[in-house]
Symmetry: C2
Subunit: 682 residues, 2 copies
């Protein structure tokens, strides 16, 4: 199967620019596409809340619903703020655009760096958590978490290379299934509780003693710090809010209103699910510790467990395999209806993997905007096949794979790096919005409009204060636990993007045509053509013919004298064939090809600086990369080197070998030939 | 530090072709350079003999000196045979040349495949054994054997990239030290034994019970097979004999006589050392089992050891760390003079690492000869810097590293793959020599000369019979133990080299100029020049000027209309600047650059097939690879694709950005500029 056909199969057929409009999303599809990240975090945010509280012992679990409530308040505040953004900036630059326009380029770049890091983390965390969930159901995955996670990332990337439209349809069903199952579980569980029929979860029989530092409860500085850290982890539920504001252009018209409505729906649903799970956990006596390192903190009848694998502990002869919070709850709630348990677990596993898709939607768009502004290489700007931003998708996948491998696909370790970026972005963006309203208020006269603006400014001000506070909390409580890695990555990205921008600007300045630059366009006085000859064969004869056709002022054939005998033989054949171009042999005491040619070219330029030298290089064109290894190596090296010599043009004269026929598609750009040839055009 | 300076430091300064003569070696340097492989094998061949015999229990050790004697007989026969080769073929094609000339190309290719595989194994086995020896002296290496071995291979490769001359000097001293220490140890040990003063080695206190299958001694089929397998492993001492015959051209004149003398010296010394070690081992009560898997076969006071690490076993509270055979012997022999023990161990460790150097001398020469004959890519033919064959050296190092990593640097596992290749080569070569003498005898009249020839033929016949027998023994006894891997590798190499040769022949045929091929040299009727424009800057203006200077029949500037707005702006600026070349915009409904250009070029060719199309591509030249990522990506893709289109030339018009100044040396071929600029030329 040729590479082209393979690509068509994976990526689907190419789309014309004028089909761009058709990939716009209705609300019912946009919600699952852009909100699956925020919604899915209820599958791991409660776990992290209980893991963190476990350090202070079981009594600390009483704080879990207070923490959840705090997270819900932050969530709703941020959602309200972003509804203002969406209305003010319908073009979808999102936080980056808001920060750049209102505060300035460094602020915008800070936001961009933060968001890019967090997109990568979203993929890594969601996929790792999905695999962790799946591992409790599918034995085969145990011990192969990293490999499975990497394969999933690759599959997701492939799906996204096919384009956002199919993603929408493919992701809608599982997202709705997940919402239905979590909310259904909450309703069913609370109903059973109301009838006094709700069973305890499997972990209810364990005790979790407090660490020595917390023997006096949480009413200490350490206790307060722990609760703040719990709150930080719970704030993972807020990632993804910005995805909608970045993605406004993908909505159907009226874009802003549809996006704002979707945002509110998302916020409400996420908060409902989070609080539902926390309440259920309290009612069913759930205990949850870090499966990767803390299993021995569980105590059964006064005996500490002995951790034997991630999530597994032995208590004498009894083995306990800790399921995720959602797993334990649905086990208990649906104890009288097992199919619903399996449905919930399956939906959770799938939604987590699909949540990563939010990042696959957001990251390439952001990268493309940054590339447009010159902060990233130009290749990222180009829309690839299927109207998706292929390069960005591949970079995102690569980054996530690196994180998954580096952190062994362990959710609790990855989550320490998470959220910093989102809250940097939230805070900067909300400050930008305040400046935005200030500016507009200076010009606006209409009282009613001014009133609306001031209300919006107040909401954004509250959002800025709230998210700024959360950012400080997150930084303080998580810095040494891993957040410093995320911050370092942001700093590197920031510096890198500044450098790229500066490079492009310098080059643009260097290349700009100014008034006095008439010499650039001056015609060279004469053309001195050189044809490179190794032996006499068809490619050389063609190169000679083409070179002669351009009628240069001077035309010479040159050969490099590496093996004197071969050179003599060549000269004799040249004379015998009566070729009407003089053949010149260049000395090469060091058996090189490149340097003698360069030196000769330089000497020509030295003697007549106003001449242009054209070096004709006969090249074989072969059909396969492995044939390429067998040919043209000296030619390639020479070409690379000649480009550094001023006043020289390098003309490749290709000779297509039979094996090259039909092989050109392998070298095609992002769009292969089949559509043009009408094979698949409908 | 620039790449060029770094290269000079590692590789030393370049040499002119006419200095080739000066790198020829006197016998006293050639012996250590070419014979270190064969000599060093006495550091592991006895170990393998005892390891293999251990299976049949301690009583089987009585066969060790008989096996050693058999190996010595084979060694001397093969040396005698190769003295005939060296005289008959002083040009140094070695076994490959002998087989090709006298039997035919497939036989030569078989020999070449076999030798190449064995060169790689020589490096892997010698380095692994050297590291194993060093590990018993230097604690740090324990557990890091693979890493240390890989680093050593890389260092050796770097040394060889500096050229054979320095190698000779650098390798002579340790080789002579090794010879002195082993022979000195033998003499000193036998003297002490004569005075009844020779102590037992540390391992003498152990018993080694026989495996169940050998409870009736070695007088069974299994016993005979075991002895043959022991003999096979002992024949590792013979690798490297062919190195001298391949390397005849590196000897001082009279080349053949010097090489033959060196061969005899080498054979005598190797045999002496091998037998000396076996005798000493018997006198000192040595026991030796496979350190990687068999430590538990040792029995102390009726108790089996418990293997805890490679070479380490516990006997209750007592830990036994097994040293190599040479280590144990020199410990015992020099018990009254410890400095000599350390000297011997150091010399052994160093010689083993340096033995790999034999392969680094032989492999690139062979690869270069094969490349000359078209069996390997042409790049391998080129002498790189310092008159060494850089490409071959790097391939050899890469192959050895793969083996070391794959086999965990375990000598006993690697040795199972070894020797097959050498004996394939020995046997084929000796058969070739018989045919050689037959041919010469048909033409030779002089009785005295005929007598000499018949004597040589008899020696080669004996050599062929002997090495053929050994080859069968090796194949039978080692096939399933790992020799099949070596044979499979040889087969793959054989097929690959045949395919490469065939490819080159097909291409040569396809490109050959025959009588009727006048159309190749026909001048195109007209030149149609296209200049690719993205926006108006200096590189584009220069490309336009150069294109105009060649005075084409038709000259057009073309741009691809990806973003209609940008295209309109470009067109306006074009008109405003009054550029005297028409600008044409090509439609691109799929936002591509490449295809619209290709289609346009094809349409020109379709309308007037006798025109040649020249596409001028303005390119930025930058100084660093990371800048390259930021530029020219579309241009590179377009160039690659245009080469597949018949009747097209691609002319790169470079614009050197400031960052490119001075960077051209990074793109240089194997010889950088400093020598030419007189910095280091003396």
């Amino acid at each position: 199967m040729s590479g082209r056909v393979l690509k068509r199969l994976v990526v689907g057929r190419a789309m014309r620019s004028d089909k761009l409009e058709q990939t716009l999303l209705p609300k019912r599809v946009a919600l699952p596409v852009f909100a699956s990240d925020a919604l899915s975090s209820v599958a791991y945010a409660p776990d992290e809340i209980f893991i963190t509280l476990s350090v202070a012992g079981l009594s600390a679990y009483a704080f879990s619903w207070k923490v959840a409530l705090a997270v819900a308040v932050v969530m709703l505040t941020v959602v309200a703020s972003y509804r203002q953004n969406v209305h003010a900036y319908p073009s979808g630059g999102g936080d980056y655009e808001v920060a750049t326009t209102n505060i300035g380029s460094p602020a915008g770049l800070t936001v961009a760096s933060a968001l890019m890091v967090d997109y990568v983390l979203t993929v890594a965390v969601s996929i790792s958590s999905g695999v962790q969930n799946a591992a409790s159901a599918i034995d085969f995955i145990n011990g192969k978490e990293v490999e499975v996670a990497v394969v999933l990332v690759i599959l997701l990337a492939a799906m996204n290379l096919r384009g956002v439209r199919e993603s929408g349809t493919a992701f809608a069903i599982p997202t709705y299934c997940f919402m239905a199952s979590i909310i259904g579980m909450t309703v069913w569980g609370l109903t059973r509780w109301g009838f006094g029929d709700l069973p305890q979860v499997a972990s209810a029989k364990f005790d979790v003693p407090s660490n020595p530092g917390f023997s006096h409860g949480l009413a200490t500085a350490a206790g307060a710090f722990l609760i703040l850290r719990t709150f930080s982890s719970g704030c993972a539920a807020l990632t993804g809010v910005e995805a909608i504001s970045n993605g406004v252009p993908a909505f159907r018209k009226p874009k802003s209103r549809n996006a704002a409505t979707t945002l509110l729906m998302m916020g409400t649903i996420a908060v409902t699910m989070l609080i539902g799970i926390i309440v259920l956990a309290n009612k069913t006596g759930l205990r949850y510790v870090d499966p990767d390192s803390d299993m021995s903190r569980l105590v059964l009848n006064g005996v500490h467990g002995h951790q034997t694998a991630p999530g597994v502990a032995m208590f004498g002869g009894f083995e306990y395999d800790q399921e995720t919070v959602v797993g334990q709850l649905s086990h208990a709630v649906f104890s009288n209806f097992p199919p619903a348990f399996y449905f919930t677990i399956a939906a959770t596993g799938v939604i987590l993997v699909l949540a990563a898709n939010t990042a696959f939607n957001g990251f390439p768009v952001l990268a493309s905007i940054l590339a447009r502004d010159g902060f990233l290489p130009r290749q990222l700007r180009t829309r690839g096949d299927r109207l998706a931003y292929s390069n960005g998708i591949m970079i995102l996948a690569a980054g996530a794979i690196v994180l998954i491998v580096a952190f062994d696909a362990q959710v609790t370790r990855l989550i320490q790096l998470y959220i910093v970026g989102v809250f940097v972005s939230f805070t900067t963006s909300q400050i930008g919005m305040i400046l935005h309203w200030n500016r507009h208020l200076r010009r606006e006269e209409d009282r009613r409009v001014r009133g609306r603006m001031m209300r919006s400014r107040a909401i954004n001000g509250l959002g800025a204060a709230m998210s700024g506070t959360v950012l400080i909390v997150v930084l303080v409580t998580k810095f040494t636990k891993g957040a410093w890695i995320a911050i370092a990555a942001m700093a590197v990205l920031f510096i890198l993007m500044r450098a790229i921008k500066k490079h492009y600007e310098l080059v643009r300045e260097e290349l700009a045509v100014h008034e006095g630059d008439s010499d650039v366009a001056t015609l060279p006085s004469r053309v001195h053509a050189l044809v490179l000859v190794s032996r006499i064969h068809k490619p050389v004869l063609r190169a000679l013919a083409y070179a002669r056709a351009t009628r240069p002022s001077i035309l010479e054939a040159i050969t490099v004298d590496v093996e004197p005998e071969e050179t003599r033989a060549l000269q004799q054949e040249w004379d015998a064939k009566d070729i009407p171009v003089p053949l010149k042999a260049l000395d090469s005491p060091y058996r090189e090809i490149t340097r003698p040619v360069i030196d000769y070219v330089k000497s020509i330029r030295r003697d007549s600086p106003r001449e242009v030298v054209v070096v004709y290089i006969p090249e074989y064109v072969v059909g396969h990369w492995y044939e390429q290894i067998l040919h043209n190596q000296s030619a390639l090296r020479l070409k690379a080197r000649l480009l550094f010599t001023p006043g020289v043009m390098v003309a490749s004269v290709p000779w297509q070998l039979q094996s090259s026929v039909g092989a050109e598609n392998r070298y095609d750009g992002p769009r292969a030939g089949s559509v043009r040839r009408g094979i698949r055009r409908s």
